[in-house]
Structure formats: structure tokens, C-alpha cells
Amino acid sequence: MSREHDKGMSLIVKTITRLTVGLILLYGIYIVLHGHVSPGGGFAGGVIIALSFVHIMLAYGKEVALKKLSRSAASFFESFGAVFFLVIALLGFTGGYFFLNFISKGKPFNLFSAGIIPLCNIAICLKVGAGLFAIFAALVLLKFETEEKE
């Protein structure tokens, strides 16, 4: 086993994590993309996506997780999600109203329907997921710093 895998929890936890984490991420993406046709949406899906990264951090330690999604990338995605959301809202002015659903709504219960709602869900997912992961990473790093001082 490579050196970077020394940290973190036991072999059992690591193996189970390796098997499940992809499924968790996939499930999060599913929740986001189906936000407009089934329960869930950007917030719930974003939290699940962030949890898949938190899961890696718990099982393998912070280095491995931060290599997958660094703090600056998380910070970028968070701001980008917010700007993306605002741009969608402002594009509504093409029809005269803030937040106007300006794309054709399509057939109900189809994956490609509901106009701007899936795009809004993706923007919210970026913001919430990256934000939650950044908060978790900040708390973990703070803990390590205090431990080092002691």
C-alpha cells in the first residue's frame, strides 16, 4: 500500500469507502439533475455530493481529499455557482422580469423540461456542495493547527 494511504482509518473502512464513494457521488448528481421532476434539488444534491468528498476525507485523511478537490477549487466553485445563479436571474430581463423563466418549459416530467429550473439547481448544487466541503475542510485544518500547537 502506498505511503499516502497510511493515514486515516482502518483497511475495512477504506475498502468500503472506495466501493461506495462513487455511488454516493453519482446519486448526488442524479438528485440534482432530477430536481425539477422528483423530490430533491440543488441543495439536497449539493449536500450529497459534498458528503462524498467528506467521506474520502474521513476515511483517507485530509491530504487525499484535498488532492481530489483543493480548497481554492472549492472556493472557486462556490463563487462560480453564485455568479451563475445571478446570471440566470438577470437573463430573465430578456423577457422583462427578474428571474423570469425565459426558456421553453417543455413537457412536464421530462428530464429536459421546466426551463431555467435545472440550470438553477446546478448553480445551487455548486454553491452548496463547494460551500459545505470548504466549511468542513476549514474545520479540519483548524483542528490540525491547534493540535500542532499543543
Binding site: S79, A82, V83, A89, G92, G96, Y97, F98, F99, L100
Partner: protein, 500 residues
């Protein structure tokens, strides 16, 4: 309706500024200042356009997402909104210019601007929204951003003050949310105009009285009226100077005073009891804040207590409920946002060069920092009510209105506290700017150019502010705001008419 598309921009522009800053400002240092100042300049210009639009077209409404209120969220631009937007965004622009130089001594300036514009977006949102739950959401945005800004220095006492502020203001927000929940359960609507309509038809029930008590506690806490003021003297001095100016200058007014005015005057409808309660709380804040300020030696703490006292004047004038009283209260609100921002910026300039806030350690700084000295004296004279500065006229109107309404007791106290205010600011001038220069400050220099520019602009407004009362100027700016409040629940009919 023509021109109503401008209304949501007051939320969109600051949020855009905030997130662009966090996206780009970290990598390109120069860009932070450019985005910060240009965003606040755009907002300031937009608020003047909004004032013009209101005067040309009357009340304007915007339905977010094209959904008609009361089902969708409505945004309303009326006289009071236009007045508050100009006040908030002008002060924010001056403060953003000041921050270019001042925030250099902190790390990660982009974080400061991001939080600053989130707070500004929240305040603008509270002012323009016509939906009571939307008001709560924007109130929380502004409040949460301000908790982080109070703790911006991350020193021990700053964190402590921010924590105290966060706990107390969260309790205040909780009261507001509970009040909104009760009103919603009673009226089954969240649109303010629609809610006012239903309340007027169904008469006063006990649940409305309960909601009113909760609103007085919640918004009173945000406005730092006296029984609920304990967080302010810690939180305002601990923040960096531009944020103290923002908090004392406009935040407590837009989250506290504006929300009280809007909900009590336009939605629920004011009666004698509410008027008496507001006037009593106002007078109490005025007296207690004034007396506590007098004994302070920390410059920023003195200014914070003085804010409580001046908010008392505003609430006293508005609570009186006569057109003249409301005019005086609103005019004092505008003036206070200018000169209190200026005083906090002055204290920041002193802290920037000398590193102290203790009045006893200062002395003779006027000779070394002439512009800070002059603007400080102008602001102090203005807040103390010396003619011809702006503060004199607004206090005069409030006192005349009190005498006309036969409230001689309140008028007496207003005069006494005005004298006390003069005493505390004479103390500031004497200890900070006049007297002999202490040896330690022999080598200090005047502050950099952008700080000077912003303080100079605010001082000019202090001097000429009284001109706003001239009939030609008063009409477009103050009159519309005063009418919006003194017409009371007529707001409901006007907004409902405008939605159709």
C-alpha cells in the same frame, strides 16, 4: 411598467459585485478595489435614477419572475424606499472609497469587499421588498454578513463582540420570524400590501397585538432601542472603521428603523398606543444613550453610544406620527447616516495613523491631520445641533413638532439631550484635535488621498444638508418619504392598484 426593471438591480448589482470579487479579487489584487468602488458607484447612481423615476411616475412595482403578487414576490419603489435607497447607497459609496486605503492594513481585502456587498445587498433588499418573508430573508443576509465583518480583525475582543452580537441579533431575528409566522397564520398571505388589506378588513385581533410586540422586540433589537441595545457598544467599536460607519450609519436604520416604519405605519396601521410606545422607547434611548456616551473615553465606544441616542431622536420623531414629526425623524435619519459615518471614518483615520482609540492618549492631532480635524469638527458640530449644519435643522423640526403636538415633556428632554450631545462632542474635539501635540505623535502624517476624499465629501454634505429643507429640494427627496409614512395604510391601496 416602464422603468420598474431598475428595482431588482438594487439586489442584483451588490450580489454580483460580491461574488465577482470573491471569484477574481483573490488572484488580481488591483481588481478588488476597482470592482468594489465601481459597484458602489453604480448603486449610488442607480438610487438617484430611482428617486427621479419615483418623482416622475409615482409608485412602481416589479413582480419577480413575472409572477403577480400576492402569489409571487413583489418589489415596491415608493417615496420612503427611494429616500432610504439614496441614503444607504450614498453612504456606502463614500465608505467603499475610504476602504481602498484603510483596508490595506488587513489581509485579504477581497473577503472584506465580498462581505461588504453581501451586507449592502441585504440592506437594499430589505428596503425594496414588498413581501414580508422576503424582508426577513434579506434581513438575515445583511445580519449574517455583518457578524462576520465585526469579527474581521480576528483579535480576541473582536471575536467576543461578534459572538455577542450574533447571539443577540439571532434572538431578535427569531422574534421577527415568530411575528411573521403569527401574521401569516392569521392573514394567509405574505405580501405586505395584501396583508394590510386583510388586517384592515378583519379588524384588530389579539394575535396582531402579539405580533406587534414581537416586531417591536425584534426590530427594536436591530435598531438598538434602549432595553435591547446591549450588543451595540461592543459590536460597533470592534469592527474595522468603515464597517463601524456602515453599521452605525445605515445598517441599524435600514434593518431597524425602516422595518419598524414600514410594518407599523403601512401594514398594520399605527394607533395611539403604538405611537406612545415608540415615543417612549425613543425618548428612553435618547436619554440613556446620551448619558452613557458622556462618560466614555474610547472614541469609537463614545460614538456607538451616541448612535443609540440619535436613533432615539429618529424614533421619537417618527413615533409622534404628525407629518412634521415624521419629516423631522426622516431628515434626522438621513443626516445621522452622513455625520455618524463621517465621525466613524474620522476615528478610523486617527486609528490608522496613531493606532489608538483612547481619547486621553490623543491631543493636538488637528495640527498634524488638518483635514481629519476639520471634517471631525464639522461632523461633531452637526451631530450636536449647531446651526447652520444639517443636524441643527432636523433636531429643530423634531422639537417644533413635539411642541406643536403638545408633548412638552418629550420636547424638554430632546433639548436637554441635545445640550448633552454638544458636551460629549466638545470633549471629543478638545481631547482629540485641539490642545498640545503629544510627543509620540510628532511624526504622524495626514491619511492617504482616498480617505481624505471620502471624508471631505461627507463633510460637504453635512454643511449643505440643511438646504434639503428648502422647498425646491424638499419636494423630491423628503416629501415623498414623509407622505409615504403619514398616509399610513393608504400604501395598501396604492400598491394593490399598481400591481393590477
Amino acid at each position: 411598467m416602464a422603468g420598474s426593471g431598475i428595482i431588482p438591480l438594487f439586489v442584483a448589482v451588490p450580489l454580483g459585485g460580491a461574488f465577482l470579487n470573491s471569484l477574481l479579487g483573490k488572484k488580481v489584487k488591483r481588481l478588488t478595489d476597482i470592482i468594489g468602488v465601481s459597484t458602489s458607484f453604480i448603486l449610488c447612481a442607480l438610487s438617484l435614477v430611482a428617486l427621479r423615476l419615483y418623482n416622475a411616475n409615482g409608485i412602481l412595482t416589479h413582480s419577480v419572475g413575472g409572477w403577480r403578487p400576492p402569489i409571487g414576490i413583489g418589489m415596491v419603489l415608493d417615496g420612503l424606499t427611494a429616500f432610504m435607497l439614496v441614503t444607504v447607497n450614498f453612504a456606502a459609496f463614500c465608505i467603499a472609497v475610504y476602504s481602498i486605503n484603510y483596508m490595506e492594513k488587513f489581509t485579504s481585502k477581497w473577503k472584506f469587499y465580498t462581505l461588504f456587498f453581501l451586507m449592502l445587498g441585504g440592506m437594499n433588499g430589505v428596503i425594496i421588498t414588498g413581501d414580508i418573508f422576503n424582508l426577513f430573508v434579506f434581513l438575515e443576509i445583511a445580519a449574517v454578513a455583518s457578524y462576520a465583518l465585526v469579527a474581521f480583525g480576528t483579535e480576541r475582543h473582536e471575536l467576543e463582540a461578534a459572538f455577542k452580537y450574533a447571539v443577540m441579533c439571532t434572538v431578535g431575528s427569531l422574534f421577527v420570524l415568530l411575528g411573521i409566522a403569527f401574521l401569516y397564520s392569521y392573514t394567509s398571505t405574505l405580501n405586505m400590501a395584501d396583508m394590510g388589506n386583510i388586517l384592515a378588513q378583519s379588524g384588530n385581533a389579539n394575535i396582531t397585538i402579539l405580533a406587534m410586540i414581537l416586531f417591536i422586540m425584534g426590530f427594536g433589537l436591530k435598531a438598538a432601542l434602549v432595553p435591547f441595545h446591549a450588543w451595540l457598544p461592543d459590536a460597533h467599536p470592534s469592527a474595522p472603521a468603515p464597517i463601524s460607519a456602515m453599521l452605525s450609519g445605515v445598517l441599524i436604520k435600514s434593518l431597524g428603523v425602516y422595518a419598524i416604519c414600514r410594518i407599523f405605519y403601512n401594514v398594520i396601521g399605527v394607533n395611539e398606543n403604538i405611537s406612545a410606545i415608540l415615543m417612549f422607547l425613543g425618548a428612553l434611548s435618547m436619554i440613556v444613550g446620551g448619558l452613557l456616551a458622556l462618560g466614555q473615553w474610547d472614541l469609537k465606544r463614545l460614538l456607538a453610544y451616541s448612535s443609540i441616542s440619535q436613533i432615539g431622536y429618529i424614533i421619537l420623531g417618527i413615533g409622534l406620527g404628525t407629518p412634521l414629526g415624521i419629516l423631522g425623524g426622516l431628515f434626522h435619519l438621513f443626516n445621522h447616516s452622513i455625520f455618524k459615518s463621517l465621525l466613524f471614518l474620522n476615528s478610523g483615520a486617527i486609528e490608522y495613523t496613531t493606532g489608538t482609540r483612547d481619547l486621553q492618549k490623543m491631543g493636538g492631532l488637528g495640527s498634524r491631520m488638518p483635514l481629519t480635524g476639520i471634517t471631525g469638527v464639522v461632523a461633531s458640530m452637526s451631530i450636536a445641533g449647531i446651526p447652520p449644519f444639517s443636524g441643527f435643522w432636523s433636531k429643530l423640526i423634531i422639537i417644533i413638532a413635539l411642541v406643536q403636538a403638545g408633548k412638552f415633556g418629550y420636547a424638554f428632554w430632546a433639548v436637554i439631550i441635545s445640550v448633552l450631545t454638544l458636551a460629549m462632542y466638545v470633549k471629543v474635539i478638545k481631547y482629540a484635535f485641539l490642545g498640545k501635540l503629544k510627543e509620540a505623535w510628532g511624526s504622524i502624517k495626514e491619511v492617504p488621498i482616498f480617505m481624505k476624499l471620502s471624508m471631505g465629501t461627507l463633510a460637504v454634505v453635512c454643511v449643505v444638508g440643511g438646504m434639503l429643507l428648502l422647498s425646491g429640494m424638499q419636494g423630491p427627496f423628503l416629501q415623498g418619504a414623509q407622505e409615504a409614512l403619514s398616509e399610513g395604510t393608504k400604501y395598501v391601496a396604492v400598491v394593490l392598484e399598481s400591481i393590477k
